[in-house]
Amino acid sequence: MIAEAIASIARLVSGASVFYSTGPPDEHQRVYFANHTSHLDFVVLWSALPPAIRALTRPVAGRDYWEKGAVRRYLSENVFRAILIDRSPRAAGGDATLSVASARRTIDRLAIEMEDRYSIIVFPEGTRGSGEEISPFKSGLYHLSRVKPRLELLPVYLDNMNRILPKGEALPVPMLSRVIFGRPMELGEGENKRDFLERARAALAALRDS
C-alpha cells in the first residue's frame, strides 16, 4: 500500500508520460539502465512500471544515501528492497573509481541478489549529471553481463527530471516529464568493454532524440 501511494505521488509530481518501444515490460529478468540527473529518477522510473513488475524490480543504490535517516532506511529496506552498494567517499562525491577487488565483490553481490527473478534499476553514469549530456558509463553493466550471460538490458531515458528536481534542491517544481523505454539489448559475443559501453550509451542517447 505504501508502495502504491509512493508510486502515485511520484507520477503526480513528475507528470510523467510513459512511452514504450516494445510494449510494457513483463516479468522477464532484466536490467533497466537510465540517465541520472535527479533524486527523482529511480522512483519515477519505478512508478512507470506496471505494479506487478514493480514488486520484482529492485534499485541499486548507494548505501551512504539510503542509510541516512529512519525514513530512507525504511523505504529502501521494506518498500523498494534496494540493493545497497558501498561507494568510497570520493565515489559518492563524483568521479573516483572503486578498487578492482571491491568492484568485483559488488558485481558478484548484484548477481546473487538478482537470483533468477529480480530485475534491477541502475544508473551507469555513476552520479547525477547536469541533464545536458549523458556521461560515459561505468563498467558495471559490462561486468554484470559477463557474470550473467544473456542478461537483457533495457535503456530507459528520463526526460526533464533535472528541471523538476535539480541537484541541490529540496522541493520539486511539478513540471511534466517523459519516461521512454527503449528496445532490449545484450552484450554481444566477444564484444569488448569499450564498444559495449559506448553502444549502451548511444542506445540511451538515441531515446532522448526520439
Binding site: S17, N162, V173, L176
Partner: protein
C-alpha cells in the same frame, strides 16, 4: 439544490441538452463516414464530445457548490496550465526557486485573494509583487545568460496561466446592483468562449477555405472565425436573461469575449509554434492539454471581467 438560482439551473440544463444533441450527432456521423480521413476526423470529434461531458460535469459541480468550488477548480486549472507552460519554456536550474514561488505561493495566494474578496490586492499582486519577486529571485540565483528570456517567460506564465485565468472566478465577487448569484456570469463567460471555439472548429471544418493566419495555425480560417464569432455571439445575446445585460449589451459583450478568445487562441498557437509542438499536453483526450483547452479563456476572462466591472458596478 433547491436553493439554486432557477436561471442557473436553466443554463446548465441547456448545456446538457446541447451535449446530448452533440453526442447523438456524433454517433450518427460515425455511421455515415466512409473515407479513412473522415473517419479519423469523426473519431476525434467524438473523443472531444466525450471529454466535454467530463469537463461540463466537473464545471457544473464546481459552480453548484458555490464560490469555493469554482475558485478551487480554476486554481487547479491554473496550476495545470502553468505546469504545461513552464515545461515548454526554456527555463533552467537557476530558475528553480522562482518557479517554486510561482507554483506554491503566488498561485494559491491569487485564488485566496478571491476567496477573501480582497479585490485591491487581487488586481495588482501578480503584476507588481510577483513581477518583482520573480526577477529578484532569478538575480539572486546569479546566472546571467538568457536572463531576460528566462525571467520574462516565468512572468508570462504567471500572467497567462494564473492572473488572466483567475479573472473568471473573480466574477463571483463583483457587486452588481440588482443582480444576484454571479455564478451565472461565470457560466455565461465560459459558455460563450467555449462555444465560439467549438463553432469556429465546426464552421472551419465544413466551410473553411481561406486561412486567416497560415504561418501560425493552418486550421484557423476566415470562414471558421466569422461563423464561430457570429453564432456564438448570437447565442450569447439569446442568453441575456441570465446576465445583468440588456440584449444589445449581451451582444456587445459576446463579441468582445469571442474576439479576445480568438486572439488568445492565436497567441497560444504562436507560442506552441515557437517551441515546436502541436499541443501543450495530452491531459484531455482529443483536446490536448489544459492550456490548449483554455487558451481563449485566458484572454477573454480579464477583458470580460473589466468590461463588466467598469460598466456595471458602481
Amino acid at each position: 439544490m433547491s436553493g439554486q438560482d432557477p436561471d442557473l439551473v436553466r443554463l446548465v440544463g441547456g448545456v446538457l441538452v446541447l451535449l446530448v444533441v452533440a453526442s447523438i450527432a456524433g454517433a450518427l456521423l460515425s455511421r455515415r463516414v466512409r473515407t479513412e480521413a473522415a473517419r479519423a476526423t469523426v473519431a476525434n470529434l467524438n473523443a472531444r464530445i466525450r471529454a466535454w461531458w467530463v469537463m461540463v460535469a466537473v464545471f457544473a459541480l464546481a459552480v453548484w457548490t458555490g464560490g469555493v468550488g469554482s475558485i478551487v477548480l480554476f486554481a487547479l486549472m491554473s496550476l495545470l496550465a502553468l505546469r504545461e507552460f513552464v515545461t515548454l519554456a526554456p527555463t533552467r536550474r537557476e530558475d528553480h526557486r522562482a518557479l517554486l514561488w510561482s507554483f506554491f505561493a503566488v498561485t494559491p495566494l491569487q485564488y485566496l485573494l478571491i476567496a477573501i474578496r480582497w479585490y485591491g490586492l487581487f488586481a495588482i499582486m501578480i503584476p507588481v509583487y510577483a513581477f518583482v519577486l520573480v526577477a529578484v529571485s532569478n538575480v539572486i540565483a546569479g546566472r546571467t545568460d538568457r536572463f531576460l528570456e528566462r525571467t520574462a517567460t516565468i512572468h508570462w506564465g504567471l500572467m497567462v496561466c494564473v492572473y488572466c485565468v483567475s479573472h473568471a472566478p473573480a466574477l463571483l465577487i463583483l457587486d452588481i446592483p440588482g443582480y444576484r448569484s454571479n455564478a451565472k456570469l461565470l457560466v455565461f463567460l465560459v459558455l460563450v468562449v467555449q462555444l465560439s471555439d467549438v463553432l469556429q472548429y465546426v464552421f472551419g471544418k465544413v466551410f473553411g477555405k481561406h486561412p486567416i493566419a497560415p504561418a501560425i495555425s493552418p486550421n484557423k480560417t476566415w470562414e471558421g472565425f466569422l461563423g464561430g464569432v457570429f453564432t456564438a455571439s448570437a447565442i450569447g445575446t439569446a442568453l441575456w436573461w441570465a446576465t445583468p445585460f440588456t440584449p444589445a449589451e449581451a451582444l456587445a459583450m459576446s463579441i468582445a469575449i469571442t474576439l479576445a478568445g480568438f486572439a488568445g487562441g492565436l497567441v497560444m498557437s504562436a507560442i506552441k509554434r515557437d517551441r515546436g509542438v502541436k499541443d501543450y499536453g495530452a491531459l484531455i483526450a482529443g483536446h490536448g492539454g489544459m492550456l490548449d483547452r483554455i487558451d481563449s479563456l485566458c484572454f477573454a476572462a480579464p477583458v470580460f471581467f473589466h468590461l463588466t466591472r467598469y460598466f456595471f458596478t458602481p
